[in-house]
């Protein structure tokens, strides 16, 4: 079955501390993985995707096919990182239907 699991509903860390938001997936083929973010009172927006292999706002995520994981990391959290983070998977093709994790609420304490 195709599934995305984000085990933490809530993650609270202090400003300046490292952050890791976990994402594991189950998919039979070669998926594309994404992290979307929703800041307070804003729309869902793409943070990063594994095929880009880039760092956005200091966040990185590496696709580990062996562990079927796509964890999101940032070495030093900032208060403006507080948001809801969703990991999502697509089987690719033309439709890019996304399968979503339940989301992790990240709170950065001052």
């Amino acid at each position: 079955a195709q599934r995305v699991t984000q085990p933490e509903k809530l993650l609270s860390v202090f400003k300046g501390a490292p952050v890791e938001l976990k994402c594991n997936y189950s998919y039979s083929g070669s998926p594309e993985l994404f992290w979307y973010v929703q800041y307070s009172r804003q729309r869902l927006q793409l943070l990063l995707r594994h095929i880009s292999r880039e760092s956005i706002k200091g966040f990185t995520a590496d696709l580990n096919k062996g562990e079927t994981s796509f964890h999101l990391k940032k070495p030093f959290a900032q208060e403006e990182d507080s948001a809801m983070y969703y990991c999502a998977l697509s089987g690719g093709g033309s439709n890019y239907q996304l399968i979503w994790g339940a989301g992790t609420k990240l709170i950065i304490k001052p």
């Binding site: 594309e32 729309r43 339940a102």
Partner: protein
Amino acid sequence: EPEVTQTPSHQVTQMGQEVILRCVPISNHLYFYWYRQILGQKVEFLVSFYNNEISEKSEIFDDQFSVERPDGSNFTLKIRSTKLEDSAMYFCASRRQGVNTGELFFGEGSRLTVL
């Protein structure tokens, strides 16, 4: 910067009533989507639309749901006879065509409350 816009932002309706949620995708985008999120639950795919027809739909998207692109700009989701369990946030999204364009651009959502 162009954005996906959705109306209304919040609609309250009685069970059994028809509801139409409207979306204006980004103008040069060719793929359109509806997702929904019941409070406290995951975002769920409803339907994708391309070239004036449904390209994929989920089990949630039953006969009570329909989508339409009545003109060159709007993309609507209709629920014919709403049920209590249709209460959710409905997100419209669009995507342009091309390689490595997996990024979906989302609207701010329409909150539907069925009483």
